[in-house]
Amino acid sequence: MKEDLMEIICCPLDKHDLDLEVTERDDDEILAGELVCTECSETFPIEDGIPNLLPPDMRDEAPA
């Protein structure tokens, strides 16, 4: 993801702002890291450059 995506995403649970914590970056592309809600502190992973903003209870609800 690119950092400007932060302008339109929010915590899916309470709609508050997210803090971006980058662990791996390639130029302007953020490849790995975490998004942390500034209100409820829920943590959402960025994996392979894609932020996973599913609520935690939907993350593992994967069809086979």
Partner: protein
């Protein structure tokens, strides 16, 4: 339209819906990410006429990213969202900024000038469903509205003051009932486009604040 230029199984959905009522079972093993067909194309063409350069738009259930990419071509800042990790990967590979998420939940209030949604809309009895990502992309549940209704309940929050949502539905999904449900949630609607196919008509509905 079958996306003749697309590789692989992109045409399968189009062909099947053109000859008989689409069967989920016939799709099995073909793809695991829904590929653009007549429905995505009608939605993309209709939405493209409505966006202006610089608009911020969201493609819900982006799949391969087709609608978002079309709107990006028109100069919009287009973002996709999908619940499927496979769809997210494919959309990203197609150059679409994508978020894995549930409908419009991970997006800010008033963020979008336009939200487009090509939902799973085929009414599907539970015994005919199977549990994989392609089924998730096609099946609308018993009445075809498994995700249509939750979308209508939540989309208004993310629309800019003059923003609008465009949704593709089939005549099989009862567009009038869909519009009535939207009205219950404070959204006025109109029909923008319609295309006849052998066993259904595809309709693009526009939803906006009353």
């Amino acid at each position: 339209m079958g996306e003749e230029s697309d590789a692989g199984g992109a045409g399968e959905t189009a062909e099947e819906s053109g000859t008989e009522r689409p069967s989920l079972a016939n799709q099995r093993g073909v793809e695991s990410v829904y590929q653009p067909a007549e429905d995505s194309d009608l939605l993309a063409r209709t939405a493209r006429e409505r966006v202006e350069a610089g608009d911020t738009v969201l493609d819900v259930g982006t799949g391969s990213g087709y609608v978002a990419a079309t709107l990006a071509d028109a100069g919009a800042r287009a973002v996709g969202v999908d619940v499927s990790p496979l769809a997210c990967q494919e959309a990203a590979e197609n150059g679409v900024p994508v978020v894995r998420g549930d409908l419009v939940e991970p997006f800010r209030t008033d963020a979008f000038d336009l939200v487009a949604f090509n939902p799973p809309y085929l009414p599907t009895p539970p015994e005919q469903e199977w549990d994989d990502w392609m089924e998730h992309a096609l099946s609308g549940g018993d009445d075809g509205r498994r995700l249509v209704d939750p979308f209508l309940e939540t989309v208004e929050r993310v629309l800019a003051p003059s923003g609008e949502a465009l949704m593709l539905v089939s005549s099989l999904t009862n567009p009038e009932a869909v519009r009535a449900y939207a009205a219950e949630h404070g959204l006025a609607s109109e029909q923008l486009a319609s295309e006849k196919h052998p066993y259904e008509a595809l309709v693009v509905l526009r939803f906006y604040r009353e």
